[in-house]
Amino acid sequence: MIRAEHITKSFAGREVIRDISAVFEPGQTNLIIGRSGSGKTVFLKCLVGLLEVDEGKVFYNDVLFTGLDFKARKEIRKEMGMLFQGAALFDSMTVEENVRFPLDMFTDMSREEKSDRVNFCLERVNIVNSNHLSPAELSGGMRKRVAIARAIVLKPRFLFCDEPNSGLDPKTSIVIDELIREITVELNMTTIVNTHDMNSVMENGEKIIFIEEGEKCWEGNKDEILKSDCRLLNDFVFANALAKQLKESSK
């Protein structure tokens, strides 16, 4: 479980995140939605400690994470996996080396065990026969999928995904959503996903937090989202015509 209390973060005097509190439960996919530039990435980076919060607290299973120093954070960090918005694969390594890297760094597995685990994770994200390519030789969507494989290779307890399906075709996008949901349940992970993809919201939204201009405007699940009367949320959710028609006809 991850608990955020009153998170505030500003850059050069401009508040980007204002007083956001939320609880993220394990075994379910928690979504953070909001328009581009609303502060999703900044909020996620505050949660994992890549950005220092100005005010507020973050707890991991009731351990106050924001108060810890680098050394103490390290123990919690080993249980985290994160997919960055731009995938953030290591340029100097091949696909296989990228996924194997956390294993090399933190386990004493044998060569075979490592390569089995790497291949297993790569297969789960539908990357086959690409082990020896470098990240520059992959498409954007493939890079994302390799990055997911790297994020789950150590079976983390906390998984963070920053826009896992931006830049993917609808079909692959669904595969990725299913994958994230499956491993979340399988490993009982606390998963937090940033997205502005309504498809994944309707598929995966067991808990949804809507951020607008750095503030939490709404919280609920995928069934409640269609019925909400929060105007900003409706503007966001029903931005496309089809969805609007659906809402109209359901009334």
Binding site: L50, K78, M80, G86, F90
Partner: protein, 247 residues
Amino acid sequence: MFRFLAGFGSYWMLLGRVFARPEKHSIYYRQTVKELISLGLRSMGIVIIISFFMGAVITLQTAYNTENPIYPTYLIGLGARDSILLEFSSTIVALILAGKVGSNIASEIGTMRVTEQIDALELMGINSASYIILPKVVATVLFNPFLTLISIITGIVGGWIAGTAAGVITSQDYIYGIQYAFIPYYITYALIKTVVFAFIITTVSAYQGYIVEGGSLEVGRASTKAVVYSSIAILLFNVILTQLLLS
């Protein structure tokens, strides 16, 4: 001025993180070997070419500046040797490497920063400063003394070939000259300077790359800054070290 001091402070703080205890030695060892090849071996070509031609030019210039019947020609060899040993193969080569290796380090690390690769390392609980920078420091501090020795040798060979080909000095005189009144300590002096300069180039450039914020434009700027600042630091330390080691 304030910004300079703040930058200096965060440079030292970064160094503190770089020299924290490595987490897994086998991986650091592997990275160091990688860096020895990319930062060391790959610089050999440029060092050899430049040293050869500079040795040739130094010898010819010494010859033409000392054209004088009472001046024994073997002094040309001696003059060329000392210029190469004292200044060229340590300081000038370091400046050239600041351009080549420094910009390479800054743009590599800067790119890792803006593409969130450094964040990815930090998130895994890895000390990214140490993981990325320490192997580079170790590799250059170990390998650059070899580059300096190679530069000394090719420089002297270049002078010999140019001097005898132009007919300004005979082979015997040149070889006599480069051995005449030879002070072995000059080699030690050159190597000490090289080690300090290698440390400066690597850490200053790595710092510039590590603190990049923004995009590819800023990465380019960081690599320019890396070259400028490490060159200035080299020139400054050249004066300090010369005063300390030769006085």
